[in-house]
Every structure is written in C-alpha cells, then in structure tokens.
C-alpha cells in the first residue's frame, strides 16, 4: 500500500513535470517569437491559443488514443497505456497555455524594451534577448500555470494511460478509482498529496520569480 502510494506520487510528478518541461521548451520560444513579431493574423493566433486553454483533456486524450491505438497511424510505436503516452497527452494540453501566457508577457513588455535596447545599440538578437529577459516573470508564471493544469488533469491520462497499477496510475486517476470503490478517506488523502505537490512547486517557482524580480 505504502510503496504503491509512493509509486503513484512519483509517477504524477514525473509525468506532469516532464510534460511541463517538454511543453515549455516548445512553447516558450514560440510564444516569445509570436509575442515579439508583428504579422497578419496575430489576433487569430491569439484567439485560437486562448480557446485551446479550455480544451477538454478527455478530448485531447481521445485524439491521442486514436493516433496511438493499434490501428492508428502511430500504433506501431506501441505507446498506448505507457507513461510516455501520458506525457504526450499532458504536453498537448500545456503547450497552448504556455504559448499564450508567454506571448502576452512578451507583448506587454515588448515595445518599450525593444526601442530602449535598439537605441542603446543592441542588434536584433540582443534586443530579443533583452525583451525575453524583461518578460521573465511572466514567463515563469506561464510555466507555473502549465504545470498546475498538467498535475490536476485526469481525463487524458486516464484514457491514454489506462490507470494501470504500478505502471500508469497517477494521483488523479487513483483518486477516481478510490472514489468508485468507496474509499473516500484514502481518496481525500491522495487529493491532499496532490495539493501539496502543487504548493511546493509554486512556492519554489515563486521564490525563483522573486529572485528574478530582484536581479
């Protein structure tokens, strides 16, 4: 029971953490680029991104399920019901959030900082670096929100992970199971662990953010 609990908790952190990391490494550069560039259709990109914030996790899970199932185009990879599939599913959900929030963090600082950097003799690379650097607090927030979404999400990991004990069971899917079996207290305890992980993560990020604010 206890080693089961540890296993479930660690897998939650691993899956959501990796998904956030993966999503951030795609979404932060993209969000910065989109935030700094002026182009036709920027508003459309923004609207689509914001709409995807609320993308239902079950639907993301379903789409991935179809792709990864034996008869699907990626079926040969044999990823369905593995932690990798779960990471992919959560990455899909986190990417739009991090793109959108990074974009607005960068856009709001962009013009003034861009002009200041240019005036002071920065080339375009340096200017971009400066703007991103100045937006770092907002970018850190984007990652925090993204991790929160991944950690709390249940529909997608349930579908593509399958909630298999020792293998793909994470905190949220374990809570579903315990509730179904009437183990409410155990379910609540799992919920408390979930909240604690979120809190510790947010606390650490906040400290990092405050440091960013000061230096």
């Amino acid at each position: 029971m206890e080693s089961d609990l540890l296993n479930v908790t660690l897998l939650s952190i691993l899956v959501s953490g990796t998904a956030t990391l993966l999503a951030s490494s795609i979404a932060i550069p993209l969000g910065c680029y989109l935030g700094m560039r002026k182009f036709k259709g920027k508003e459309l990109v923004r609207t689509v991104t914001y709409t995807l914030y609320g993308f239902p996790p079950v639907v993301a899970g379903l789409v991935l399920y179809i792709l990864l199932s034996n008869s699907g185009p990626l079926g040969s990879l044999q990823l369905l019901f593995t932690p990798i599939a779960m990471i992919l599913a959560q990455t899909l959900l986190v990417v739009p959030i991090v793109i959108g929030l990074t974009m607005s963090a960068v856009s709001t600082t962009s013009k003034d900082y861009t002009e200041t950097a240019i005036i002071l003799g920065a080339d375009s690379w340096r200017t971009a670096r400066t703007v991103i650097h100045e937006a770092r607090i907002g970018i850190i927030s984007a990652v925090m929100v993204g991790f929160g979404r991944a950690l709390a999400e249940v529909g997608a990991v349930m579908l593509v992970g399958g909630n298999i004990q020792w293998h793909t069971r994470v905190l949220t899917t374990a809570i579903v199971l315990e509730t179904r079996e009437g183990n409410f207290e155990y379910g609540l305890a799992l919920g408390a662990i979930l909240l604690t992980i979120g809190m510790v993560f947010f606390y650490l990020m906040k400290r990092y953010q405050d440091k960013g604010m000061l230096t």
Binding site: T116, A117, I119, G121, A122, S124
Partner: protein
C-alpha cells in the same frame, strides 16, 4: 559640417499629416533646441532622426551617413548616437547594470571605469546598486542620461529630458548636458516645452508648429526678435490652443 541633416521629412498617421516636409540642419557641436506646442510633431521628428521609425518621405543624414531605416544596416550609425525618450524606462536590473548595458551590447568588457564616470556625472554613485525600477522620476532621468552617454555618442538627442522634474534635478541634468557637450564636443538636439531651458542652454533654437519648422535662429534672436509673428506669440506665452 552638419551633424544632423533632415530633408523633406513627411509623416502621416492615418490621414493625419504630422510632419510636413521638414528640413532641419544641426551643426556639429551645436546645442540645438526645438520648442513648440504639444502635438506639433516634435517627438515624431526625433524618432525618425534616430531611426526608430521611417519617414513616409525625405532623407536623414547623420554625421555624413544617410539612414536606411533597415535595422541591421543602420546599427553602426545608431551606435554613434543616442536618444533619451520622453518616458525612459529602466531594465529590471541594478542602476549600474542598466548604465553598463550599451557597453555590454558593444562587447566592451572592462567598462567599469566608464560606468563609474557616467554615474558620477549625474550624481548616482550612491544608488548604483539599487534596482533601476525603484528610482524616482528625477533619478530615472539621470540614470537614462548616464546610460545614453556612457559610450560617448557623438550625437545626443533628448526629448523633454527634464519634464515634470524639480529645480534640483533640472539643474543637475542641464549641467550634465552642457558639460557633456563641452567635454566631448558632441552635438545635442533637445526638444523642450520649457522656454527658459532653451534660453539657458541652447545656442540655436527652432520653433515648430503643426508639423513645420516655422523658424530657426540663434536662441537670443528667437526670443528677442523673432521673424515670424507665430514664434513671437509663442515665446511671449500668448499662443492659445
């Protein structure tokens, strides 16, 4: 030779013509003031002169080189000049780091001494390790001045560099501008609402109204015997908007 030469600069926003074929020439080493009411197009003109935005038509020549309004191409020229905007901003780092920024982007590694002198020049040594974003209005303007001059630009363009400041900060900044020009032989172009300031520091003054330069002359002449009736009523404070 003229350090700044603008020929036929026009600029519209939508169907509003803000600059109407402006010609402007600032001699090397001059301290040149542009005065004029709010909305005359002064900031727009300065932004065009330092390549922050292109004109619709006309040419700008700085230190003998024509601006192309292509960012990379203008970089070497931009690095020889500086601009302090009406609302300068500090990067989220210390005052010292802010002032060192232009040196960093130029790959100048050991610029500590230059930073020290720039800070000393505007009396900011005590605040060097504070965060730029915590400075008061006057301190921020002084920081912006230090940052804009640390790399010894040959042309310095200032937009209302003492607006909303108290007499102490105004005096300090005016002294800094005047002595910078004297020590480095730099050319200074400044826009100001403060007629007394133009009188105090500028050798040449131009009066700008509704996107045209009405007249330009030695400062004393602009104030004592203006050629144009509109200049006269502006410097006497009679112009009603």
């Amino acid at each position: 030779m003229s350090a700044i030469k603008a020929r036929g600069i026009s600029k519209s926003f939508g169907n509003r013509c803000v600059l109407k074929a402006i010609d402007l020439e600032v001699e090397e080493g001059d301290l040149f003031a542009i005065i004029g009411p709010s909305g005359a197009g002064k900031t727009t003109l300065l932004r065009i002169l330092c390549s922050l935005q292109p004109p619709d038509s006309g040419t700008v020549t700085i230190l003998g080189k024509q601006m192309s309004y292509r960012e990379a191409e203008d970089l070497p020229l931009r690095r020889r000049m500086s601009f302090i905007s009406q609302k300068p901003i500090a990067f989220r780092e210390t005052v010292r780091e802010n002032v060192a920024y232009p040196l960093r982007v130029r790959g100048i590694e050991n610029g500590n001494e230059m930073v020290y002198h720039a800070l000393q020049h505007v009396g900011l040594l005590d605040l060097a390790d504070n965060l730029g974003v915590t400075l008061s209005g006057g301190e921020l303007q002084r920081m912006a001045f230090a940052r804009a001059t640390v790399y010894n630009p040959e042309v310095l363009i200032l937009d209302e560099f003492t607006a909303h400041l108290d007499p102490y900060n105004i005096k300090m900044l005016e002294d800094a501008v005047v002595s910078y020009r004297k020590e480095k032989g730099a050319t200074v172009l400044t826009v100001t609402h403060n007629l007394f300031q133009a009188k105090r520091i500028a050798s040449t003054t131009a009066f700008m109204l509704d996107g045209v330069i009405v007249e330009q002359n030695e400062t004393a002449r602009i104030f004592n015997s203006p050629a144009d009736e509109r200049t006269g009523s502006f410097v006497r404070g009679e112009m009603i908007f």
